[in-house]
Structure formats: C-alpha cells, structure tokens
Amino acid sequence: MTTALLDFLTALALAPLLPGVIARVKALFAGRQGPPLLQAYFDLCKLLRKSGVYSTATTWIFRAGPIVACASVVAALALTPAAGRTALISFPADFVLLAYLLACGRFFTVLAALDTGSSFEGMGASREVHYAALGEPALLLGLLALARQTGTMSLPSLLGRASPLAPEAALVGAALFIVLLCENARIPFDDPNTHLELTMIHEAMVLDHGGVDLALIHYGSWLKLWLWSALLAGVLMPVALKTIVTPVPLVGVTGVLAVALGIGVVESCIARLRLLRVPHLLATALALAAVAFILGVR
C-alpha cells in the first residue's frame, strides 16, 4: 500500500518530465540543443500565474472541461500499477474502469471544445472521438488477452505476470504502443508542435483555453502519457526486472522513461500520417490485439 502510494505520488510529481525527455530525444536526432528537461514545469508555473480569456459563447462546460479531464486521469492513475507492483486500488476487471475514466475525461474535453462554437475545435473534437472509438476496443481486447494468458483479472497481477518473451505480450505491447501514440496525440497521429489548426487533433480542441485551465489540460495530458507509459512498461518489461524489490520506485520510473525515449525515437523517425490513414493504423492495433487474444485462448 505504501509503495503504491509512493508510486502514485511519483507519477504526479514526475509526469511533466516526460515531454522534456521526448523533446530532448527529438532535439538530439535533429542535431539541436532542445529545450531544458524541466521546461514543462516552467510552463506550468507560468500558466498557473495567469488569468484567463473566456469566449462569450461558452458556458460552465468550458470551465469544467479541464478540471474533469485532469481529475479523471488522476483517478485512473490510482488503478495503474508501476511495473510489477501493486496499484492503490485493484479488483477484478479494474481495467474497464480505467478505460471508462479516461473516456469520461475525453468526453468533457470534447464538450469544452464544442462549447466554443469554433469550427476548428469542432473538427478536433470530431477526430478525437472517432479515433478513440477505434482505440478503446484495442486497449480492452489487448488487456483481455493478457488476462487470459496470465489467468488473472486485475491490472497489477496481469501486468506483473506478463512476460514479453511470450508472443501474446509482445503483440499486445505493439498494439498498446500504437494506441498510446494515438491517445496521447503523438506522431504519427497528431503533431503536438504543428502550427496549422486544420491538421491538429488534441491541440485544436484546446485552442481557446488559457491560464489555469490550460495548465490543468497540459498536466492532465502528461499524466495520461505517464499512465499509458506505465501500462506499456508493465507489459514489455522482463519479469526478472519487474520482480526487483526496491524501496524507491526506481524500476517503474525507468520503465516509463524508456517508453518516453521510444516515443521520442518514433517521433524523430517517421512523419505524420494522412488523417484518412489513421483509422487503418488503429485497425492494425485492434488486429494485433485480436491475434494476441486468439493466441492466448488457444
């Protein structure tokens, strides 16, 4: 319990490190120096000191959106175990609750975007729900495959026993990595640094948010990146590493940072997909999860 609490607090504290790591990796590939590792913390401090500009079209939904989005990820994080350890709370089929909590946050982000009445934000919202509807079955089916393979139903135990040497876990890892890139608005699905609203997804939805609200949105999305990286690290980390007992959450953090490195490498090496191609890649993730499931059932 105390280790789980420690993991939880570590995630809350270190999540803003991830965008810095990814940016550094990308800078390294591009031969630039890149922003400081702690840039996200500086951004958060700056945003928290600002007030906001609110569109005259908006209602309380617009103000509630960032709060619910951030709170839902924090609640979902309580269900997420660091590699090989327990989570704050776990029970059979807890990954369903995790998926639906994330969906709740997404729903409010989408509504806040529609609340502004901007066509660009509507566009982002439409794409977001479209891709999420394809990503969600891949996530649940992938975790179900691991559940069948390991014979357990709750996240800590199924991630703790999943071995990347088994083909199921490798396939699920690949599927989850694709969905991770999509859910967290990374290349090849979405470019967090793009400058053209027409091509954005996540950034388009939050165009009108500023100040404290934007800080909440950013922090929520980094936490979400941490959460997904922890899940993926749990699937892909060798069992020998997962069983190392350390008082500080060293193994889990290393796993998450390794995933962030991987994201940085992928972002440096491939270009964005055309929007029309995105569903195909997500369907590939679903197919990988389905193959893993069939292998696991066999």
Binding site: Y54, P92, L114, G122, A132, L134, L140, R148, L216, R298
Partner: protein
Amino acid sequence: MTQTLIALAALLVSASAALGLRSRARAASRLGAAGSPAALAICVVALIRVLSSGHAVALRVSWAEPFGELTLGIDALSSFFLLIILSLSVVTALYGVGYLERSSQSSVSWFFFNLLVASMIVVVIARHVLVFLLAWETMALTSFFLVAHHHGQRSVRRASWIYLIASHLGSFFLLPMFFLLAPAGGSLAFSDLGHALAPWAASSCFVLAVIGFGCKAGLMPLHVWLPEAHPAAPSHVSALMSGVMIKMGVYGLLRVAMLLGEPPLWWGWLLLALGAISALLGVLFALAQHDLKRLLAYHSVENVGIIVLGIGVGFTGLSSGAPHVAVLGFTGALLHVLNHAVFKGLLFLGAGSVLRATHTAEIDELGGLMRRMPVTGSTFLVGCLSICGLPPFNGFVSEFLIYWAMIAGVLSLTAATAVPLGATVAVLASVGGLALACFAKAFGIVFLGLPRRTTPQSVVENGPSMTAPMVLLAAACLALGLSGPLLAPAVATVVADLHAPIDAASIHATTRVLSRVTLIAAAFMALVAAMALVRHRLLCRRESRAAPTWDCGYVAPSATMQYTASSFAQPIVDLYGSLLRTRKRLDAPEIHFPEAAHLETETPDLSREGIYEPLFEAIGVALRRMLVLQHGQLHIYVLAVVLTLIALLLWQVGWNS
C-alpha cells in the same frame, strides 16, 4: 397481491375519470396523471417485500371454462419489473401534465396512458397464457393510440401504423410458442407450461420467443418500429415506451426461458450474436441520424442489445458450468434494465423539453441551448454521461458487471466459448466509444456553441412540471451510479429466480468489487470538486476577460460555420459507410467563387429498406392475385358462400359415414 390489484383499480379509475372529464381539460389532466403515483404509493411496500425476500405470492380465481382458472402472481422478477414500470410512469405522468398542457386531446391521451401502465402491470403479473396475451395485446393497442396522438400529421399516422403492424407481427410468433409450450389438453397456467418438453420443442419455443419478444424489445433486425414510433409519439410517451415498454420484451424472454429449463449452449450464443448486432448497428445508425428523438430511439436498440448481451453471457455461463459468470451476466443485464429506464427516460424527457421550446428536434438547426435552458441542458448532460457508461453515473455499474461477466467467462471457459465472449468484449468496447461520439454530438451540437438558426427570443426553459421530473431522474442516475454495492444484492433474488445458483459468497464478492468502483467514483467526484475550488481560489482575485472565440485568423466567422451534427459524425459514418448506406445529395459550387451550396444526408434504416419493404412488396404482389375474387358482384359472393357450405356439408357427411 391485493395491493397490486388495488393499484390496478386506481389506474382504471384514473383512466375513466380522465375520459369522463373530456370537457374540462385541466381536471382531466390532473386526474389522469394522478393514477400512477397513487398506484405506486399503494403497492410499493408490498413489492419491495417480495423483492427482498424472494417469496412469490399468487392468486387463483376460478374462471369459466374452457380456460381453467385465472392465475396471477408476483415473484421477484415480477416485482423488479413492476417497481420500474410504476416509478417511471409516475415521473413521465408528472412531466406529461406540462407537456400536454396545450393539447386539445389530452384527456384521451391520459385514458390510454393509464391503460398502458395497467396493461404492463398485468403482463408482468399474469401467470396464465390467455391473461398474458390479452394484456400483451392491450399494451400494443393502447401504446398505438398514444403514438398516434398527433394524428393530424401524415408522418405520425404512418409511424403508428408501422408500429401497430410490427407489434402484431411480434404477437404472431408468440401464439405458436405458447401452443408448443402448453401440454395437450392441459391448463394454460404458466405453472403447467413447458413440462417434459422435447429438446427440439424447447429450442423452437426459444427461437419463437426471441423473435416475438425481440420485436417488442427492438432487437436488430426486428427493431423497425422503434425509429419510427419514438419521434412520432409525445415525448413523455416515448420515455415510457423506451424506458419501460420495450423491456416487457426482455421480461417475456426471461419468463419463457425460466419455463424452458436448462439452456443448451447455442441459446446463449444466439443471444450474444443478436445482442452484439443490435448494440453495434444501433449505435452506428444513431450516429448517422440528425433528428434528436430518432437518434435516441436507435440508442434504445443499442441498449437492448447490451441487455441481451448480458442475458446471453448468463445463459452461456449456465450451460457451460460457470455459475459465477451466469450470476454476473444476469445481474448486469437486470441492472441495465433499471438503469436504461432511468437514463433513457431522462433523455427523452430532455428531448421533449427541447422540442416544446424550439418546435424542432432537428439537431442541425439547434445550438447554444445551454444558456436558454440551463436545467434541461444540465440534466440532459447527466443522461448523456449515464448512457455512455461513464463513471460515476449509473450506466457504468451495469456495463461494468456485463464486462466483468464476459472477462470472467473468457478466463474460466474453454477456448470455443472464450473466443466469442472475447469478441463481445471488443464489441462492447467499440459500442462504448461510438456511444460517446454520438452523445458528444447530440449534446454538443444541441446545447453548446451558438444557435445555428436565428432562434426566436421566446426560447425559454419549460415550467417546473417538466423540469422537476428531469431533475429527479438525473439525481436518480447519480444515486444509482454510486449505490452499486447495494443494488447487486437487491437483485440477487431475481437472479435466483432465473435458475442461476447465487449464494451469499458470490453476492459478497460482487459487493466488494462494486464498493471499490464506488470508492473510485466518489474519489473522482471529490477530486473534481477540490480542483474546481482550487481553480476558483486562484482565479477569484484575477481579472478574466471575455472575448469572441478565437477565429484562427479567419475573418468574421459566423454561427453557420460551426461544426454540425452531420459534419461531426461524418468521419465515422464514412468509415462504416458500407453498413449505413447514407445517401448524400450535394450541390457543390462549380465556379471558383463562393456561391450557394447545399448538402443533404439521409440514413434510412437498413433492415426496413433491405428486408421489410421488399418482403411486404412481395406479399402484396402475391395477394393481389386474390383480387380476382373481389369484384363487388353480390350474387357471385352469395354463390361462393353457398358452394363453400355445400362443400363443407359433403365433407362432414363423408367424414361421418
């Protein structure tokens, strides 16, 4: 039992009072709406007692031959459905008072409303085939008259005819089912049905029940009446029909399944397949609609699909020796019956509120209603969250139990059973994602942003008679969502009725897991509240500015440039285009300078266009040949009658000799 009969009498009194006071609309409406609350008040305690103890009560009254005695009864399953029927009818009746205020025919409507509630009660307590079928037919007829309330409109007349025909086609399959069930020459009481049934007869009964009751429940592809009847009916009637009446199909299926004994494995698979098809296609067709009530009607198809998935998992668990899977599946399905009644009732009432204030249910013409109608908007949002199954609202609890049942099945059953169950997990997850897209569209386009057409200033929130029921249902959504640990034991007696071996240990395990779900949900809500407080404290001393929405550098964007329901759903609709067959009519500008353009999309029902219209066309062509006999010449008719009589006489004589 006595209390329920008194409640029935109260409903009938209220119905006749409403009809009798035709000339005084206000009094008729008050008295007509008073029936359901009175009925609920009379029998609620007795029903809860039956539900908690699981002891069935019965009533036998001798009746004239040839039908034996009249038998009624209330067991846990009946009382569970009775409580839902009565509670939702109270709320919709209260709403109806405001909704029908300006209608000239409200007294007739109240007459049929009370009769509908009464007939649903009799359906649930009937323990005799004849009583059941009579009540079933009364239910179909009274709801037909309720749907036809605005019969001045051509579209409403057409919709109500489709409904009437679909209902009777469903009943058409129930008759042979009961014939098969009834022992030769025996009584028609339910307790005597289904004894020593051959396996083929039991399976035929099951298939007939799935078709007959599935038609009422709205299972794909038997759902054609739903998207027609719901937009046509007054909204409180839609709420009652969608929330409760279609569940009578679920009730019938469960009741007959109880009579049929041990299910073979393929029954569960049939239900899983039908449930998956209904859920997935229901939500996809909903996404493609731009009439708010039609969209909600398709979501009823989706949710009935989810309920049937739960029942299917239950049957699969029963027949493959995994009782814990069966218990979870049935519990999830039953709770989803309750939850769907609450949130779909709420959503239809919200749609009615929008319709009454703006006189349109066309999503693309609305927008920005949250400012004008804050209560309708906020409660509709709660309904959306619940139907998408998002924690902490009630839809999540039942969907979670169904997921859990499926996952437990995948883990404990053989590969041949685990693969279909795994597929249903993927289907349910897709349905969840698509439902979220659909309600982001429905809520976001109707209530948020700016008005798309210049709505008149007269759009204002409706009176308390219409808003109070919505607030009540929204509160129920949250309360049910947080009381999962109490609900699962509450339906344990019903699950036991369904032959699922439920014991204290399994109830305890379910409760423990659900209490953790509730804990997380409550923590989530507390976190939202805390963050809102912190945000408020941070911002209260700073000055925030109001400005127009950021236009991304484009000049003078107008309200018509906002995303519409059609554009919001277009990527998904296109992706599933081969299933949906959306028709587009586009008049695009052909020159380089902007000019008027026009786009129209329509997604007609696949099974109506693909199955029923060709089928009825073919039947019509075949029967047209019979027109030879119908020529209007009386003497030839008489000749035909005489010839038939002579033929019958000869036959009879030949038979006897």
